[in-house]
Amino acid sequence: MKKLSILTAVAVAGVLVAVAGTPSEAAKRGRSSAYDGLWSVSIRTQAGPCDPAYRYPARIVGGQIRQADNDFSYQISGAVASSGGIAVTVSKGGQSATGYGRLRGSTGGGRWSAGGNTCYGTWSAMRRASN
């Protein structure tokens, strides 16, 4: 079975940015957020022809996501609320994925889906460093 790799990539990226998103109020004011730091995000696929699991780094600065590993071949938008709630969309090549969830302290988790629910699953995150 051919995997939907681009969707996987987009979905994964979606989860990456699920810990950040569009500029938060803190970011707009150039201040740090409670969630700033280096995070590690584990993505698990529950259904669909995407990879079963992968782990990716992500960096949050001022409440905004910064890809820990620079790659600008996809676009991200979303937000991390001061409550920790997150919603994010990632797009690449006309495809997109969305992630929802919540951060609490130095951990977090939620759900993701891609390509009209072609693939979906869960994600969890842990903060590995505060800066």
């Binding site: 790799s5 681009i6 995407c50 079963p52 699991a53 992968y54 782990r55 990716y56 790659d71």
Partner: protein
């Protein structure tokens, strides 16, 4: 150690070094977040405009050239080949020896011969070996191995197998519940294209003081556990005497600060650290009157499994392996794996290197077979059956690994896991092999 090439086919290319050269190239040519999944992308989707995966320096938004990443590491302490040749682990002179040293090898062996268990490389396909040995336990076919050797994936399972059936449940969990997220994080470290801090944490969690105490006890009773890494500086394989290290770790009067426990874990990580894909492991040593760090990588670079120093394994050596039986568990399939190869660099490399690894294993098996016959002992080999074809959805797919574990388990439990000669080549010779009946397997667990 890993298999990043997510080919839409039944079985992973198993063996470490080979597949991983292709793996890091995949990551080099694809967006980092795409990971293994990128393998199935079209060539146009894979190729970045630069053709190279680069990472910015901290605080900078502009990507650097890959070579600039070396600056993030402090310079290595200089040392010479003579320094390295004489280097030892401070406080643990019996911790290791060069794999090409016949004298040191013979000195490290048990006083009494017994069955030897040899565990090969294999990455996620290590689930086969884990299942097989667990199945041997369940079927009452598992002897007490006097020597256990492990390389890469084989190294990661070897401590549990050496310590006995008490750890079968741990072994099963490790090889049926572990996913790629538990092994690595995508993203360049400057020394590799993936970071293995998750695997380091996993090893730390699983290699417990209790396990080391059991290994130390077995060592003191004369059994031996050897793990192989590659000293990349020296371009030589190193045999780590893990029982001796465990004995140091459990001697609290000497092992201040848990250095031996830390070394034990580092050796396991190093043995599975495929160069390019996983970062090498620095090991602190003392030699030539100075302290420095050696760079160790996957033991599979020096051979897919280890029985004895290469010179002793030569068909003309006359060496007698001091064992009663030789059991070689190959965590790989050895049959050709048909694939219409994509016209992409990773696909071409993956298929080519996968074939090369199988060829290497077959040659090594043949050499081990001859050495066993020359020694007058039984030869027993098991590899993933040709008819195993469970699909793999990606690197370390738990569903795939569960299926492979079960296949190994069923074989082990049946008592027919091992053949008394290397697997035949496809379309093999019609000339009957000349095998002496006097060296047929007699131990339980070996098929006739």
């Amino acid at each position: 150690m890993i298999e990043m090439m997510n080919k839409p086919r039944g079985r992973n290319i198993s063996t470490c070094a080979a597949a991983l050269f292709a793996a890091f190239l995949t990551l080099q040519l694809t967006p980092p977040f795409a990971g293994g999944a990128a393998y199935a992308q079209s060539a146009s989707a894979k190729q970045k405009s630069s053709g190279t995966h680069v990472k910015p320096a901290p605080g900078q938004g502009t990507p650097q050239a890959p070579g600039a990443q070396a600056a993030k590491f402090p310079p290595r302490t200089p040392f010479t080949a003579a320094d390295d040749a004489a280097a030892t682990i401070p406080g643990m002179p019996d911790a290791r020896f060069w794999a090409d040293s016949e004298t040191d090898f013979n000195k490290a062996l048990p006083a009494q011969p017994g069955p030897w268990l040899i565990l090969s490389t294999g990455g996620a396909d290590g689930a086969f070996g884990a299942g097989l040995v667990t199945g041997l336990s369940a079927g009452g076919h598992r002897p007490d191995y006097s020597v256990v050797t492990g390389v890469s994936a084989g190294a990661l399972m070897a401590p549990f197998m050496f310590a006995g059936p008490k750890y079968d449940a741990t072994l099963q969990a490790l090889y049926t519940q572990t996913s790629a997220a538990d092994i690595f994080e995508v993203g360049s470290t400057g020394e590799s294209f993936l970071d293995t801090w998750p695997l380091r944490d996993l090893i730390k969690k699983q290699i417990t003081p209790e396990l080391l105490a059991d290994i130390a006890t077995a060592y003191k009773n004369g059994r031996r556990l050897f793990v192989i890494t590659t000293d990349l500086d020296a371009e030589r394989s190193v045999v780590w005497n893990m029982g001796a290290i465990a004995a140091h770790a459990t001697d609290h009067s000497k092992d201040d600060g848990g250095l031996a426990l830390s070394l034990f874990r580092s050796v396991l990580l190093a043995s599975g650290s495929i160069p390019g894909a996983f970062p090498p492991v620095q090991i602190d040593v003392e030699g030539g009157g100075k302290r420095f760090s050696e760079m160790h990588v996957d033991g599979g670079v020096g051979g897919q499994f280890f029985v004895a120093p290469p010179a002793l394994m030569e068909s003309t050596s006359g060496y007698k392996i001091p064992a009663t039986q030789l059991y070689v568990v190959v965590n790989s399939g050895l049959q050709p794996d048909f694939q219409v190869v994509d016209r992409t660099t990773p696909s071409i490399l993956a298929q080519s290197v996968g074939m090369a690894v199988k060829t290497d294993i077959r040659l090594m098996l043949d050499r081990a077979f001859v050495a066993a016959k020359n020694s007058g002992i039984g030869f027993n080999a098991a590899s993933i059956p040709p008819d195993f074809n469970a699909p793999s959805r990606g690197a370390f797919d738990p569903s795939y690994m569960k299926a492979l574990f079960q296949t190994g388990f069923d074989l082990g439990k049946s008592g027919k896991a091992f053949a008394d000669r290397p697997p035949p080549y496809p379309g093999g010779s019609t000339i009957l092999p000349n095998v002496s009946d006097t060296t047929q397997s007699t131990d339980p667990g070996a098929s006739k």
